[in-house]
């Protein structure tokens, strides 16, 4: 009814031109109603038409497969790949055998990047920073991370991560989308697609970036792209300046009700176009305009850290008052989590220490150490660690041998995909444990390897999703975040 009225007003294609008001796409969209009612039947008797998990066919789930432990994820991504050997993977053997060439039996054919493949020697390089054990769990943490060390008993260190890629772009793309080639949906988009949003006034997937002084690698919006999923699942990048979202305020002279009228009118025009073309992206766009309208109200509220008490500011560090810093983003992450954002992705750039590692990494660690640990404490005191999963880590590890000149106080480490460390906390992850082990050189995983696909499967499991069942059919086949691999790492789940 309403559509017809609208078309009168706008003088759009009249009934006489197209008496049935049907074009090819429209016909098919109508046809889908018939198919839809069949689908409804299968909803009433859920397994009625069930073949082999093929029933999703790109339709939205909106519900988890089983009761989740985590309702949201805060992913503190350390872009550039922090060295495991100066953070959490303590290897005294490197001290004892410093300068010795990496044994061929350990390297075992591992390919190298162009940056060190020309080196004639691969001298083992010890950590320039001391390690100590902390907490009841006795976790090893380097002196670069004194605050994280204090919360070690809340964390689950995974020291046996491994990946397939050896360069930043494919590796980070692999971590975020499950594929080294770009184009697949990001992890946050999959979660949004699978679980829907908690708070309909905010995007379900938000991205915040910050940059340290260390050697940085680029970040691209493809990392939070929704790929072939509906674009409403795309990550929304909040700007790191003082206005996290631009044009939040209406221009002078435009009242809120004028804005409403404007949106209604635009939406009615868009709907006409949708009837003509049947393009689903138009509906997404209409929904996004509405979301933006509601975000005008919700975002200022969420982003305004002036309401935070002094004690919280001090906890995260004074830096958190400076927009665009990692500390500020960490505090925002907590506020976004409180407001029902499902997936909050932070990126901190500058961890690519091919040279000058001790100095650069000290600076990087200082950027993130206190705020990361503060986030854990803050979430914990609010009871949010019960259902919020926090992840800290980069895209791969770094070599145990020196890149460039051998200098114990000023050295570099190249990319290393075979073994690296990350930590997780909260949301169904066992606290105070260390999982997996590398050899004495910190080069190969010798116990409980966790592949990137396994990591994805585990995160999804915590969120109540069976990673094998969340699929989307595109270009003739079903895709999933873990594609054809991935095992849930049950041992680290509560």
């Amino acid at each position: 009814m309403e559509k017809e009225k609208k078309s009168e007003e706008t003088g759009k294609p009249s009934d006489s031109e197209n008496p049935l008001k049907v074009n090819r796409r429209h016909f098919f969209s109508q046809l889908s109603v018939g198919i839809g009612s069949l689908a409804l039947g299968s909803l009433l008797i859920p397994d009625l038409l069930k073949g082999k998990g093929d029933e999703l066919l790109g339709q939205e789930l909106g519900i988890p497969n089983f009761a989740p432990k985590a309702k949201r994820i805060i992913y503190l991504f350390q872009s550039g790949a922090p060295s495991q050997l100066e953070s959490f993977d303590y290897k005294p053997t490197l001290d004892k055998r410093q300068g010795e060439d990496l044994p061929e039996s350990i390297r075992n054919g591992q390919r190298l990047t162009g940056m060190t493949s020309g080196q004639s020697k691969f001298p083992l390089m010890p950590s320039a920073v001391k390690f100590n054990q902390y907490g009841e769990s006795g976790a090893w943490v380097s002196d670069f991370f004194p605050h994280i060390a204090k919360v070690a008993d809340e964390l689950c260190f995974v020291k046996s991560m491994h990946t397939e890629a050896i360069n930043h772009d494919p590796a980070i793309t692999f971590f975020q989308t499950g594929s080294q080639q770009s184009g697949r949906p990001s992890m946050g988009s999959w979660m949004s697609y699978g679980l829907g949003s908690e708070n309909k006034n905010l995007p379900s997937f938000v991205v915040l970036t910050s940059r340290g002084k260390g050697n940085s690698q680029g970040l691209y919006s493809k990392l939070w792209s929704s790929g072939f999923l509906d674009s409403k699942h795309q990550g929304v990048l909040l700007r790191s300046g003082k206005d996290p979202v631009l044009y939040l305020n209406d221009p002078d002279g435009l009242s809120r009700s004028d804005k409403r009228h404007l949106l209604d009118k635009v939406s009615s025009l868009n709907k006409i176009h949708h009837v003509e073309t049947g393009d689903d992206e138009i509906e997404s766009r209409i929904a996004q305009y509405e979301m933006a309208y509601r975000m005008q109200m919700s975002v200022p509220d969420v982003m305004d850290i002036k309401k935070e008490p002094e004690s919280i500011i001090k906890l995260y560090g004074e830096d958190c008052q400076v927009p665009g810093t990692y500390a500020a983003n960490a505090l925002q992450a907590r506020r976004l989590a409180e407001s029902g954002v499902r997936f909050i992705q932070l990126y901190h750039q500058g961890w690519d220490q091919h040279g000058g590692l001790p100095h650069e990494m000290a600076g990087q660690a200082k950027d993130v150490d206190q705020a990361s640990a503060a986030l854990i404490l803050d979430l914990k005191q609010r009871g949010m660690l019960e259902d919020t999963l926090v992840v800290w880590g980069g895209e791969f590890g770094r070599t145990n041998y020196c890149q460039g000149k051998f200098d114990l106080k000023n050295y570099g480490r190249d990319h290393h995909p075979r073994a690296f460390s990350i930590w997780m906390a909260g949301g169904g992850i066992k606290p105070g444990i260390t999982y997996g082990k590398t050899d004495e050189f910190g080069y190969n995983v010798v116990e409980n390897p966790v592949h990137v696909n396994d990591f994805h499967a585990t995160l999804m499991h915590a969120m109540g999703i069976n990673h094998e069942e969340l699929t989307y059919k595109y270009q003739g086949r079903r895709f999933r975040l873990t594609d054809v691999a991935g095992n849930v790492v049950k041992d680290i789940l509560t």
Binding site: F66, A67, S339, K380, Q381
Partner: protein, 483 residues
């Protein structure tokens, strides 16, 4: 009641002949060797069996409703019953070993044929007293039902007619399962034994137990321990679906990729019945496959909650109220309310119909009033309550005393005081309480903690830890001294 009598006399002899033949077959069953062609006739049994069922039931229906039964109908029905019984007998001889089901089916099937013949005789000899015939018809109907039912079970598997179970059959796999008994056999049970069981032993192959699996079928062993890729069972499941020899046959439920992998790895590892998960290296594919099967058992049992319609759930969902089922088909709901610009406690009126289904309720940062709190009190199945950053008071908590299932209460930054501690004691299932930034005093809390060590009390960040974070005396980076 009058029957048509213009039936040729040879028909009577035919019926008599077939009856005698059937009796003969049954008596001398064990010593009969059938020529191939005759045996082949037995294969028609599944086709012809439909005739006596339908025709006899029609005749019975007419009889029981006091209608005239055409003599021709009765004759054809009786003949078809005899032919079916005989063909069934031939089919059974073709099979080697008879299971209980098959024997039962055979007896009942023969009974159908004999009862039909008896009925025909009574009618033909005009001995039909109404009451006798009626009893006969009734008995015949019942026998047909059971004969057909057991026959169906022989063909389609015993649980073919079992009611569909809602959701997946939950097989409980122990922490350290036996690969054969807990993993492999259930797959065979699920996908193979409907044709390879004692009643229906296709290809002379039984897949019901370990001994029989090892023994193999008419084409020899199905498992080759020396070269697993050579195992007949794997070859057959790997054939393309449209291949005649593909197993399970087209149209039957197929093995999934991971089920095939499990079979393959089990055979590759020697196909024995003693292998356990803990014997395997962690990089063995089978470990991952088994772990996957063991997975999600997180689902709590919320089956006692009342049913709740999707329609009701969706109706109450809005931009500021998010209601979601805990999981697929779960009756338990998770409700989050966000503060809208026009918030008032009245929104909870809409939620009353689902109050008993709410298991988790997040009301963080709302300006809660009395109406909201009295709504919470109605959520009797509540396990998880978030009222942090709200004007929640001791009186409010007191009024929630009836919520016996509460496990987690987040009351961070609320107005509760020491008085509330008495109420917290009342929640027998309480596991965690978050009471930082409230007016509860440290001394009272310490006493409470001592008394209730099973309750996790979080009163905020440890002061000494906080000092470490807040006081900035240090530039913490310590690079090691010269070595």
């Amino acid at each position: 009641m009058k029957y048509n009598t213009n039936i040729k006399p040879w028909v009577g002899y035919l019926i008599l002949g077939l009856t005698v033949f059937l009796i003969f077959c049954l008596i001398f069953e064990s010593s009969i060797q059938l020529p191939n062609l005759i045996a082949w006739l037995g294969r028609w049994h599944p086709l012809v069996l439909h005739f006596p069922i339908v025709l006899l039931l029609v005749a019975i229906f007419l009889g029981l409703t006091n209608n005239k039964i055409p003599k021709l109908l009765l004759v054809v029905a009786t003949l078809s019953a005899l032919v079916t019984a005989i063909s069934g007998f031939m089919l059974a001889v073709d099979a080697t070993e008879k299971g209980e089901l098959l024997i039962l089916h055979q007896r009942l099937g023969s009974a159908v044929a004999f009862l039909a013949v008896l009925w025909y005789l009574l009618v033909t000899l005009n001995l039909a007293r109404t009451i006798l015939i009626k009893v006969l018809q009734l008995v015949l109907g019942i026998v047909i039902f059971f004969a057909g039912h057991y026959g169906g079970m022989v063909t389609h598997g015993e649980d073919f007619l079992a009611l569909p179970t809602i959701g997946k059959k939950s097989l409980i796999i122990p922490e350290n399962p036996l690969i054969y008994a807990h993993i492999v056999q259930p797959i065979l049970d699920d996908k193979c034994i409907s044709c390879h069981n004692g009643n229906k032993k296709k290809g002379e192959l039984l897949l019901t137990n370990f001994k029989e699996i090892k023994k193999g079928g008419e084409n020899g062993e199905i498992i080759d321990e020396t070269n697993y890729k050579n195992s007949t069972i794997l070859k057959l499941v790997h054939l393309p679906l449209d291949d005649e020899n593909h197993m399970p046959p087209e149209g039957k439920p197929q093995l999934s990729t991971s089920e095939i992998q499990i079979l393959e790895r089990w055979i590759a590892l020697g196909a024995n019945d003693t292998l356990q998960l803990s014997h395997l290296n962690s990089d063995e594919t089978l470990v991952g496959l088994v772990r996957k099967l063991q997975q999600p058992t997180i689902q709590k049992d919320w089956s006692n909650l009342p049913e709740v319609d999707d329609e009701v759930v969706n109706k109450s969902n809005s931009n500021y109220v998010n209601i979601a089922r805990f999981a697929n088909q779960s009756k338990a709901l998770n409700v989050i309310v966000f503060k809208s610009p026009t918030y008032s406690d009245s929104i909870f009126m809409d939620l009353e119909p689902i109050a008993k289904n709410i298991v988790q309720l997040d009301l963080s940062a709302l300006p809660l009033g009395e109406q909201a709190v009295s709504f919470i009190a109605k959520c009797v199945n509540l396990e998880w309550l978030e009222v942090d950053k709200t004007p929640f008071t001791d009186e409010h908590l007191e009024s929630l005393k009836g919520l016996k299932k509460l496990e987690i209460i987040k009351a961070y930054d609320t107005e509760i005081t020491d008085k509330s501690l008495v109420v917290f004691k009342n929640f027998k299932n309480l596991k965690k309480m978050y009471v930082a930034q409230t007016s509860i005093t440290a001394t009272a809390l310490d006493a409470f903690k001592k008394e209730h060590q099973n309750i996790g009390v979080d009163a905020g960040i440890n002061p000494s830890l906080e000092t470490f974070f807040v006081v900035k005396e240090k530039d913490t980076v310590v690079v090691k001294d010269e070595k």
